[in-house]
């Protein structure tokens, strides 16, 4: 039995490791276009100089040896033939598979802004090569513009600012991190960024990238017509599933590769997990899908019971935030409980005993319980003797025969 996995990030490598533990004698091959294993979520630490390429790995350096996995690195998959059960490599080579996992992740979206695609010195923050190629431009006093104030944009901003770059973040919404934070919690970060010299411009969009005769970016013009000079631009305007290379009609593609609750695609023996399946963009679910796909690839049916992906942990300049579920009440039938002090902001949105969203900022101690309460739709109706903010696992306490906690 040969299992082939395309992609070597969270979903791909966790699948590979799980297949090895389930099927000790099966052949496992991982194909990746890059030749290093690293955690994308740490790329900004490479930008900032706080880490090196060798210290952003997420598996042991001998991962492939100890798990007896054949790693075809630096190799791109060009196409796929599900009828022949074969993948075609960019060097023309063919690889047969018995089961195939597509874990090719996502690609940055480049918005249709004039000159953005053509200009030099425009980067994204998705792959290692993005960082290594922009590195020579990163110098103290250099000006940079970040298009997009979401998590990747802010990661890039903080990373560049650590190197003395004068950063401006342009965000269309009325606040940064608009998918994770409400106005109040975003404003605390905006104040912090200002203190650290990061210029945040919200409610504005980039209309045009200004370029010189050598096609190098020299700045941007915004929707309010002001111009900001920049010799380095980072585009952080979201991602899209990396499916363009799939030419086989047997694999149905919607928002990503269409999968069932066992990570099966519409093609026989082909599975998909992680960002490429379009259901999630967060690390923990990519890992879970990878593990789950592995079980099903080994013939052991496993259905994923966790699809809660509206969760994020944020930590910039020492201010920690956990964002869960909805961040604003959908309408006034919801109740909102808020606690606020000089350093802490907590908000819980609930209705009829079900909690739909929460923000914990400045104090995230033991807050994981709320990920369960919200993600599993646990009712808090019976907890009447406590302030809602004091609810913790003791109110749900239950153990299994082997002493684990459960709900």
């Amino acid at each position: 039995m040969r299992h082939v996995i395309i992609g070597a990030s969270a979903a791909g490598l966790n699948a590979a490791q799980t297949i090895r533990s389930l099927c000790p004698t099966d052949e496992i091959m991982v194909i990746s276009s890059e030749d290093k294993i690293y955690s994308r979520c740490m790329l900004h630490h490479l930008v900032s100089g706080h880490r090196t390429v060798d210290s952003i790995g997420f598996v042991a350096p001998d991962f492939f040896e100890i798990n007896r996995i054949h790693w075809l690195k630096g190799t791109t998959v060009r196409s796929l033939d599900t009828a022949k059960k074969q993948v075609c490599l960019s060097d023309g080579g063919l690889v047969d598979y018995d089961t195939l996992l597509i874990a090719t992740g996502a690609l940055p979206s480049i918005p249709p802004i004039p000159n953005l695609r053509a200009a030099k010195n425009v980067f994204t923050l998705r792959e290692l090569s993005d960082v290594t190629t922009m590195d020579h431009l990163i110098q103290e006093g250099v000006e940079a513009v970040i298009i997009g104030g979401g998590l990747i944009g802010i990661d890039a901003a903080v990373g560049l600012a650590a190197r003395g770059v004068r950063v401006s973040v342009i965000e269309m919404a009325d606040r940064i991190l608009p998918l994770q934070l409400d106005k109040k919690s975003a404003s605390r970060y905006e104040a912090l960024f200002k203190q650290h010299g990061i210029n945040v411009l919200t409610g504005k969009s980039v209309q045009e990238v200004l370029i010189n005769d050598d096609m190098e970016a020299v700045g941007v013009r915004l929707s309010d017509n002001q111009t900001i000079s920049a010799s380095l631009i980072v585009v952080a305007a979201g991602v899209r599933p990396n499916t363009d290379w799939i030419n086989d009609r047997a694999i149905k593609i919607g928002r990503g590769i269409v999968t069932d609750d066992c990570c099966r695609t519409t093609a026989d023996s082909v599975f998909a997990a992680g960002d490429v399946a379009g259901k999630t963009g967060i690390w923990p679910l990519a890992v879970k899908q990878g593990v789950q796909a592995a079980y099903n690839m080994c013939g052991q049916k496993k259905v994923l019971d966790d699809n809660f992906n509206l969760k994020n942990a944020i930590n910039f300049f020492g201010l920690q935030t956990i964002s869960l579920g909805v961040i604003e009440e959908p309408d006034d039938s919801y109740e909102v409980d808020i606690y606020e002090s000089a350093t802490v902001y907590k908000k819980i949105i609930h209705k009829e005993g079900i909690v739909y969203g929460a923000i914990f900022q400045g104090d995230i101690v033991y807050s994981g319980v709320w990920t369960s309460i919200i993600g599993k739709h646990l009712s808090i109706t019976r907890i009447t003797n406590k302030d809602i903010l004091d609810i913790d696992y003791s109110d749900f306490y239950k153990t299994t025969p082997d002493g684990q906690f459960c709900y």
Partner: protein, 149 residues
Amino acid sequence: MKRIIIDKSLCMGCLNCTIACMSEHSSGSKSIYELDLEDAANEGRNHITLDQCNKPTPIFCRHCDDPECVTACMTGAMTKNADTGKVSYDEEHCAACFMCVMSCPYGVLKPSSQKDKKVIRCDYCQDREIPRCVENCPTEAIKFVEVDK
């Protein structure tokens, strides 16, 4: 693997376990007589909270069979040892993203209140045969027991 088995009904909330944990992980001597309770460097890895009926409830790391903290860790700093069952944490490699804190379904994990530290979690007192909390529980509400993996 071994797990600290909890009998909630026997817990009287004396916090001996918490003090024991703080002593064991204190930066100075491990003696309870020299423990500085106000020094954030000595914070405990377990905690007792009161449920809505005011019953003390020990919240201790389960070193879960399927640990959400490990799944959430994007650096590989949090790992589950398949042989010992123990979840280990490499603070050096941790990037302080706190996805583990967010992901622990039972609210066991927290960020350290110290700036240079990251996540506070149970390590079964490293190489100690019996974790210090268990040794110090006067009611046997917590026991260190071999369980099936």
